[in-house]
Assembly symmetry: C2
Homo-oligomer: 125 residues x 2
């Protein structure tokens, strides 16, 4: 990438996601109210486009190799209120209103454990 392109990406007003070799950027869903991180996954150009069109968070499932509307089976959609973009435009933060638990385990957030010593303990809510 040229310096001019990098500068435009960092300082400009054009949305120009920088997809990696797999065609992905990182997508992070954060509860717009509590600011808790709910989940992290990857988005390809299709997922970004569908998210913007519908206002519902879409990802690209690497394991299933296809577009994934979060909540498509559970009904626990994430309604996107804002999308923040980082300096080099390879990560997106979606501020969302969750319609149910964000994690497939039933937890409110996928981040329900934290490191303590060598192991994991539950995060206090």
């Amino acid at each position: 990438m040229s310096n001019a392109a990098a500068l435009e990406r960092e300082t400009g007003t054009n949305f120009m996601p920088r997809y990696d070799a797999q065609g992905l950027v990182t997508g992070i869903a954060i509860d717009a109210h509590s600011k808790d991180v709910l989940m992290v996954a990857f988005m390809d150009a299709e997922a970004v486009a569908r998210t913007r069109e519908t206002g519902l968070a879409h990802f690209h499932s690497r394991s299933r190799g296809r577009l994934w509307l979060k909540g498509e089976t559970s009904g626990h959609f994430l309604r996107v209120q804002d999308i923040l973009v980082d300096c080099d435009q390879d990560a997106l933060v979606m501020l969302v209103k969750p319609e149910g638990p964000a994690c497939h385990t039933g937890a409110r957030s996928c981040f329900y454990r934290k490191l303590a010593g060598d192991g994991l303990v539950p995060v206090e809510e």
Copy 2:
């Protein structure tokens, strides 16, 4: 991955990061006080180990292909207070106390813009 291994990873107390084919997990630094997202990058096993040993956020620089201590040139280290782990252990959230701007542009956070229509606008602080 077997179902048993997946279940252990999701429900257990063992820290067993699930590195991808490139040997990476996603690392997200969040301001422990304001809960604002500061930056997102990737971590390999070495970066995870050094972060745990030193209490300072380390990443793996994909562009430079090496370990990267955040702040190694700027002095703007991220002091890690807690590390949250997600359900399938392929993403880590570090709750940090930043010692200066987190972004190389000088911004407090790398997420200083948001989508508005087809373009980007500054995030109001």
